[in-house]
Symmetry: C2
Subunit: 293 residues, 2 copies
DNA sequence: GTGAAAGCGCTAACAC
DNA sequence: GTGTTAGCGCTTTCAC
């Protein structure tokens, strides 16, 4: 009998196997709607790594575009019991998806730390040493004309942006720079708002722009270029999140790199290890890399 | 009994339902490895639309990164019978994945036309009016200094690039422009090769660059900028494939738009209609839109 | 060790 | 219409 199976290279039916074993060999990758309006290499890189890692565990990745509303694709996927666990690509305050997963006691991993309000609730909370990396990089960027430096950021309800702000603040503190006179602009959602902020800061004498992510950084570069200002001659731009675009930019832009692929791979691996009952690290912390260009 | 079900808002288990019905309510979205090295809005947009459309049919989307090798994620997914059908995001000559699907008689849809060698083999072959759109746009671009125009493209084994080349050739033909003196450069894989080609063409007196896709177009712009040349003053650049980056570029770049979301949605819808035994269009052809900027 | 039987949670084909 | 039953293709248990 066993010989027969071997010879005819029999492959079990996943649905039947799953029904009997009460598991699906699928995981849901939740992609916030906002990610799809942008062109973030982060998502692409981490998704690739997650798919590759899941494959090693015989798992498939189901993409769920989270709307945050009722009849969310993720909710239906969970209701139909089509996945064993979930990976969140973003963490934020007051996130209904996170709360749903906690309520239903569904194993889940996050790319990036959870906010304190959900402390310890994820199966795996993978992150980079965000604060540390941003602090170290900020110290370097602040070593020149520190009172001409501004920090530009987007939505602070995302934990990653909070960590980066903290890193910047700690850098100023460690350099004994006054915190109150710091130029910090957050909530910069659109190219127009970024443009306005940049023009405003220039009038205040700011000429060194530290951007909290690659998306903002590119917009800042575009805005400055259109104003006839050149990096790094007239103004200096740097980013607290590297991306291929910044690396290949002419001239290149300094940044601190948090490898999205490594983050995705780690989160996926530890989550699936935990599902298999094997030993795993619930809070892996990955290193950063500073690129001075 | 039925009342009981209604009251307790019972949701059937997809694995058991699938086992009994001999279907999985999953589809595989095949992403070529090359897509993930790039930053193509095409993939993001079409993936989003496919996920949304699949959701309407109660289907989930499984991402399969195709390596083209043995033990490909897609092959294992098919072996385990975890999907009912497949969507290919790229079509190419001599594609092992396409051949595999034909061999195994698995229902599949393609984004973009199949090469002639696989004529009629897909369940659904969705495409834009690529040749027509590129011809119309090329005619406009060729209306000025036609002998100073070059066409820059990537891999011609992709059907989409063949269609675009055909469109360009037909435009020249219709304008009674000589074909033999046309500057066409294909196989431009890397930024370095693109840079070399651009510099080479400039020496030949070319100053109007028509790019076969947005990726090349951006690289061409980068190369020209670094050489101190400005679009549209010194040189003119346009693209046979639009993208948000070209639209938001300063100054903007003219392009012909083939909406990836509409393509993905249509391919997914017709494929799932066919699976349900409903009437469907096996070869939908979508319109293009020319943006002169 | 090898084989038979029950059960996973559904659908479909019967019977009543 | 409502209720019962067999079967989807596995795993697990228990008997041999």
């Amino acid at each position: 009998m066993l010989d027969y199976i071997e010879i005819h290279n029999y492959i079990p039916n996943a649905a039947a196997k799953g029904l009997a074993e009460r598991r699906t060999f699928n995981l849901a990758l939740v992609i916030p709607h906002s990610f799809l309006c942008l062109d973030l290499p982060f998502l692409r890189e981490s998704m690739r790594a997650i798919c590759q890692e899941a494959f090693l565990f015989d798992y498939n990745v189901m993409v769920c575009l989270s709307t945050g509303k009722k009849s969310d694709p993720l909710i239906r996927t969970l209701d139909h019991r089509k996945v064993d666990c979930v990976i969140l690509t973003r963490t934020a305050e007051h996130d209904p998806i996170t709360e749903l997963l906690i309520d239903r006691e569904i194993p889940f991993a996050t790319l990036g730390s959870l906010p304190n309000s959900y402390f310890g609730k994820a199966t795996v909370e993978a992150d980079h040493l965000q604060t540390e990396g941003c602090c170290a990089f900020s110290r370097i960027f602040l070593s020149e004309s520190p009172d001409r430096v501004a920090l530009l950021g987007n939505d602070l309800s995302y934990v990653v942006n909070q960590s980066r702000l903290t890193g910047f603040t700690e850098a100023r503190k460690s350099l004994s720079l006054p915190l109150d006179r710091t130029s910090v602009r957050v909530g910069l959602d659109t190219p127009e708002i970024i443009r306005t902020a940049v023009s405003d800061l220039l009038q205040q004498g700011i000429h060194r722009f530290l951007c909290m992510d690659d998306e903002i950084c590119i917009q800042v570069l575009v805005a400055l270029t259109s104003m006839g200002l050149t990096h790094p001659k007239d103004v200096q731009v740097a980013s607290l999140c590297d991306s291929p675009i910044l690396k290949n930019h002419v001239p290149p832009v300094s940044a601190v790199e948090f490898d999205p692929a490594e983050l995705g791979r780690t989160a996926c691996r530890e989550l699936l290890l935990s599902l298999q009952g094997e030993s795993f690290d619930p809070t892996p912390r990955l290193d950063y890399q500073i690129h001075l260009r």
